[in-house]
């Protein structure tokens, strides 16, 4: 039992990653508000970022600047996540633009109300 506690306590960031992705999925599936679904998408995505940045970290490392004292943390995941953050904002912007159109069309951002309006 204490082994299991040790295993997870030495990997707190990965546990937080699992929780954040779970919360993101919950918001995506659960909420009726379409805006909140986009928030859930963002939560999910930043959870994955946490996984990458954690995998780049080493305890004795400094920031990836060569003028600083060596050894440095892994710079490659940082680059990937920098790209992913910008792509994530692009996805959010397009989703929000579509939501503005949905609101113009149906006067609501509630998923079930939109579905009702579509059926009638």
């Amino acid at each position: 039992m204490s082994d299991l506690v040790m295993v997870f306590s030495s990997r707190v960031a990965y546990v937080a990653f699992a929780l954040l992705v779970g919360i993101g999925v919950f918001v995506l599936v659960d909420s009726d508000n379409l805006l909140k679904k986009v928030v859930g998408l963002n939560l999910f995505q930043t959870g994955v970022f946490l996984f990458f940045i954690t995998s780049a970290f080493r305890r004795d490392g400094s920031a990836p600047l060569l003028s600083g004292p060596g050894p440095v943390v892994n710079p490659l995941p940082h680059v990937l996540i920098l790209t992913a953050i910008v792509v994530g904002v692009s996805v959010t912007a397009v989703a929000l633009a579509l939501l503005v159109r949905v609101y113009d069309e149906y006067e609501t951002l509630d998923e079930s109300e939109v579905k009702e309006a579509q059926q009638s």
Binding site: V12, A18, I23, L35, R58, G61, L66, V87, V89, V100
Partner: protein
């Protein structure tokens, strides 16, 4: 040890902010919690020695994304509590907007009870399915956690020959910031693709919004 403790506290705050964002009734509370969440993550990146990512997260994640959400809320449903929600919420309900914000700082225990009431509330509303789905995803990911390397270990598999090459080669080229070097030199086409994605997103958003105005 200090770093581990700091990371644990920060991640606790971040997860709490995410829970608040997930369970809040009003959209404004959700967005405020989301902004706090992004800013907390930016600090986590800083502790994990990723200053470039921290700057981008604070500016783009906490700043631009939250601002976009606020603009869209103001443009569409507005910040007031919708009529229907007011009718639906029972007086005994714990998750009223104003309360939520003051409770963010509460200790872990009350966070747990709040989570439990929220979970039972969700089940009562016939939303057992989404709780099950989220639990399955989280449980599945947690199963993989013991197989991952210890956080901060120097022998993490990520430190392969590729990373070594980037570090030594940018040293011989005299580029100080390795992240910038990889971004614009070694993975320049990747960054070009990223810019293409941003341009496409802007074009798509403008096209979608303009179509609404024409009609």
């Amino acid at each position: 040890m200090i770093t581990e403790l700091l990371v644990a506290i920060l991640l606790g705050l971040v997860v709490a902010a995410a829970v608040v964002a997930a369970l809040a009734r009003g959209i404004l509370t959700t967005l405020a919690a989301f902004g706090a969440y992004s800013l907390g993550l930016a600090v986590v990146w800083l502790v994990f020695r990723a200053p470039d990512v921290a700057l981008t997260e604070a500016a783009v994640g906490a700043g631009v994304t939250t601002a976009l959400f606020l603009v869209v809320v103001a443009r569409t449903i507005g910040f007031g509590v919708p009529q229907q929600q007011r009718q639906n919420s029972t007086p005994s309900s714990e998750f009223v907007d104003g309360d939520e914000a003051t409770r963010v700082g509460d200790a872990g225990a009350s966070e747990g009870t709040r989570l439990r009431t929220a979970v039972t509330g969700a089940v009562r509303q016939g939303r057992r399915r989404s709780v099950v789905v989220a639990s399955l995803v989280t449980g599945g990911l947690l199963l993989t956690v013991p197989a991952l390397p210890v956080v901060g270990a120097a022998d993490t598999p990520g430190f392969g020959p590729v990373t070594e090459y980037y570090l030594t080669d940018s040293a011989t080229r005299g580029i100080d910031n390795v992240v910038t070097a990889i971004l614009v030199v070694y993975r320049g086409f990747d960054t070009f693709g990223e810019i293409a994605v941003v341009v496409t997103a802007v074009v798509a958003a403008v096209a979608v919004l303009n179509q609404g105005e024409e009609r």
